[in-house]
């Protein structure tokens, strides 16, 4: 659903070009961000929203340069705070379509608290989290999604902290839309982006992104042809969790309350796990699956409806106004206990 006010206006027929700004793109050549930018620009016309009603808000980091390259309204803010800023923007302007562009460091380290609360409040924003498992802009320190033991400039003997799983985090925060896509899978990225952008409420989309300079092929399991066939689990609502080569399909099933991988042919159809986006508990189990023991789910893990923060707040405002009329400062000043001195 598009934001309320934007519905009223008819959007012109846009093409990708309409969303390209006049700024030179300044990411490293070969960076995964280029593909994401292109996919976002391509997905924009599909929203049917006039481009003046679209705002991109970002924090700090390579990904956060994004707004400069979109020919919409944009605000490149400070490290980690984009979700909080977007919350204020939505409360002031519920008629705007707001995107938040962030990274694993920006969104899950310095801005982890704001990410928690924007999701919990279910503010109507589309959050694109570019996860490259590294700090790129500061030249290669490990990030909160880097694997344990990651050797970087700041961790010459390997990192000692365990990574956070963005999808599990988002679901734990009560996110109403959680999805994952991959920078090198353009059609999937476009399709998932559109789903996220159309969600009513806070949509959290993790985009596995390659930083070819500081963490090249961190997601090789999703790039390498052979491994991809082996591990990619395409989530489709109402379809069973099947993955692997066409001639040798595997399935994720539930063994009691524990997910388990089996050969598809070894189990009856009734034992298969059918993906249901409305089942948040199931999504929480899916979020934790990863190679090599499990396949890697991509697509929409969960999509549910819940009250939207700014809509509730504005309903209260409308109710206050319709019950008692608009505020009048002259009346307020003279209300209650007053006395006259002549």
């Amino acid at each position: 659903m598009s934001p309320s006010g934007a519905d009223a206006k008819e959007a012109p027929k846009y093409t990708k070009k309409d969303f390209e700004s006049d700024q030179d793109v300044r990411w490293c050549p070969g960076c995964g961000d280029y593909a994401i930018l292109s996919a976002v620009q391509k997905a924009m016309p599909d929203l049917g929203i006039p481009k003046e009603d679209i705002v991109f808000i970002s924090g700090i980091g390579c990904s956060s340069r994004f707004p400069y390259y979109m020919n919409t309204y944009g605000f490149h803010t400070i490290h980690g705070r984009a979700p909080a800023l977007a919350t204020g923007l939505r409360l002031a302007r519920p008629d705007l379509k707001v995107f938040v562009v962030t990274g694993d460091g920006d969104g899950l380290s310095i801005g982890g608290n704001h990410m928690l609360h924007v999701l919990r409040r279910n503010v109507n924003v589309t959050i694109l989290l570019f996860n490259n498992r590294i700090y790129g802009l500061t030249k290669g320190q490990y990030s909160p999604t880097s694997e344990l033991g990651k050797v970087t400039k700041s961790t010459p003997m390997g990192s000692a902290d365990r990574p956070v799983n963005p999808l599990a985090f988002a679901l734990g925060c009560g996110a109403t839309f959680v999805a994952r896509t991959v920078d090198r899978n353009i059609p999937h990225m476009e399709e998932t982006l559109k789903r996220a952008a159309h969600h009513h409420g806070a949509a959290f989309l993790e985009i596995l992104q390659n930083c070819n300079v500081y963490n090249d092929l961190a997601w090789n399991v999703m790039y390498d042809k052979e491994q991809k066939v082996q591990y990619e689990l395409r989530l489709q609502h109402g379809k069973p969790l099947l993955f692997g080569p066409a001639d040798d399909r595997s399935a994720v099933i539930m063994d009691g309350v524990v997910p388990k991988v089996v050969k598809a042919k070894d189990v009856p159809e009734s034992a298969l796990w059918t993906h249901d986006e409305r089942n948040v508990n199931a999504a929480k189990l899916l979020a934790d699956l990863f190679a090599p023991d499990f396949p890697i789910p991509v697509g929409v893990l969960a999509a549910v409806e819940a009250p939207v923060y700014e809509e509730l707040m504005l309903q209260q405002e409308q109710k206050a106004i319709s019950d008692r009329g608009p505020g009048d400062i002259a009346k307020l000043l003279t209300s209650g206990d007053t006395w006259k001195i002549s």
Binding site: G5, S21, Q23, P50, E52, D53, V55, F56, I57, I60, P67, Y68, N71, T72, Y73, G74, F75, H76, T77, I78, R81, A84, L85, A86, T87, G88, L89, R90, L91, A92, R93, D95, L96, N113, H114, L116, H117, M313, L314, Q316, E317, A320, I321, R324, G325, P326, G327, D328, I329, A330, L332, L333, T334, G336, D337, T338, W339, K340, I341, S342
Partner: protein, 623 residues
Amino acid sequence: MSETATPATGVSKSLKELDRAVIRFAGDSGDGMQLTGEQFTTESAWAGNDIATLPNFPAEIRAPAGTLFGVSSFQLQFGSQRVYTPGDRLDCLVAMNPAALKVHLGDLKTGGLLIVNTQAFDKRNLDKAGYAANPLDDPTLAERYRLHKVDMTALTHEAIKDLALNAKEKDRTKNFFALGLVSWIYTRPLEPTLEWIRKKFGKTPSIAEANTRVLKAGHAFGETAEIFGEHYAVEPAEMAPGLYRAMTGNRALAWGLLAAAQRSKVPLVYGAYPITPASDILHELALHKRFRVRTIQAEDEIAAVTSAIGASFGGAIGVTGSSGPGVALKGEGIGLAVMAELPLVIFDIQRGGPSTGLPTKTEQADLMQALYGRNSESPVVVLAPATPGDCFYIAYEAVRIAAKYMVPVIVLSDGFLANGSEPWLIPDPATLPPIEIGFRTEKDGFFPYLRDPATLARPWVRPGTPGLEHRIGGIEKQDVTGNISYDPENHDHMVRTRAEKVRRVAQEIPPTSINGPATGDVLVVGWGGTYGAITAAVERTRAEGKSVASIHLRHMNPLPPDLGHILREYRRVLVPEINSGQLVRVLRAEYLVDAVGFNRVRGLPLASEEIHEAINQLLGSQA
């Protein structure tokens, strides 16, 4: 009190005229002293007096009963002439328990009225207060003060013995006995309190009945008991005619924002995280959604300021409020608003620090933080209200300046102004200056950092305006185009431009009003909540025939354009502050004047007596 209290002599119940009195109610946190003080204030307002109040309570919500640090008090001064401060020394102290007596007795004038609730002076409470023996048995207490030992607890229970309330509920009403008694002593009308009881306890008639009876019992006790020989009248003050109400600083800040929202016809978003002593602003604003004022209780101080910035970016008025520790956390966000050149208002209700410091006590030590407490060259406008009621005008002015100059404005209030109240002449909102917000919609010739030649403000564009799509951010940008720029000369130019923009706010500042002669021996320069204490001290010194004047700054940055000239018209400049010398440093640096500070940092307002002394010392030292 201008007249010396004389010991009571008989039962004549003579009525004596006073021109002012200072009273403090003190007791346990649970004794309802704040309410008692507030009600006494309302009664005095009805009596037409000018008033200043000083609530003082522990940081702990439920401090252990009977302890010294659990003592809560409410002081007020009321008078038939202008009252500038809550008063220094007490004419009357009501002590509901031994701890309250111990903490506050030192402030009572010799010969002052001391009223104690005897039943609270039991072994346990005496132990907790650290009294080895009952101080009420010490004959010197009654020699030094006009001591009245009243068993308020027993008298309270007696007055309502037939009511179906439990002992605890009955006990809780004893503060109204004290209120009734002191109301009789100072001939205050009971009507406002009776009215308050009716409203407050309308749904619980038995509690209403109990409070009413106990209040009246206290009053009657004063009238009939043999111990009170006289009582006092304080004539109505000569105040400007008009409609008045009691106003606290926090409420005034909130209402100033409401006035600004209504006048500007733009929604206002207030982002805040709960913090003492600023939370009441959030509570107050949350009550007034009809003004299109939207409050966010943010997840932290940083989200509070950035959500306000997001709102400003969207074309609303973004405001955030906190106290010093919270404003420290907001620093980077404020810097973003400086860079993005968006309007933003930040309230800093100063409290004792550093760190957690004295959360419920007042201080003026955030001036440097407001002026300089951010990375790099990050100039903002800083305003400071002088009185609780002035907070209304300052909040309104902050919004007006922020929107006109596209700049952050910090308002430095403090715990004393926030909770203190004064009778406030209600203004006609139509007389407030207009807040003109003209969002840019014209496409031709648009650039995000195009500047208004008079204010240097860049255009404010609401997202949603076709053809003006643009990007802004915290990175340095080229002037006019707003494109990212790392060019050295451009950066230097932008640093100067941002500073010049703030400097130009000086054109908004009215001529400084001088209290006293335009030239003379000593000029006292104050800012913030010390206004009353300074004014009273200066007027007293002048009454002694000395050549002393004062000015009170409401614009801390930029400073008033006429200030440099004024400072040079006096031989000495004295700057009293509740910090270790912040404004005085600014004045010395800006104007090369040999200003000296008078500094006390006790978490309490400055006393006019000590300022008076400091002025005299300075006068003496130059002779």
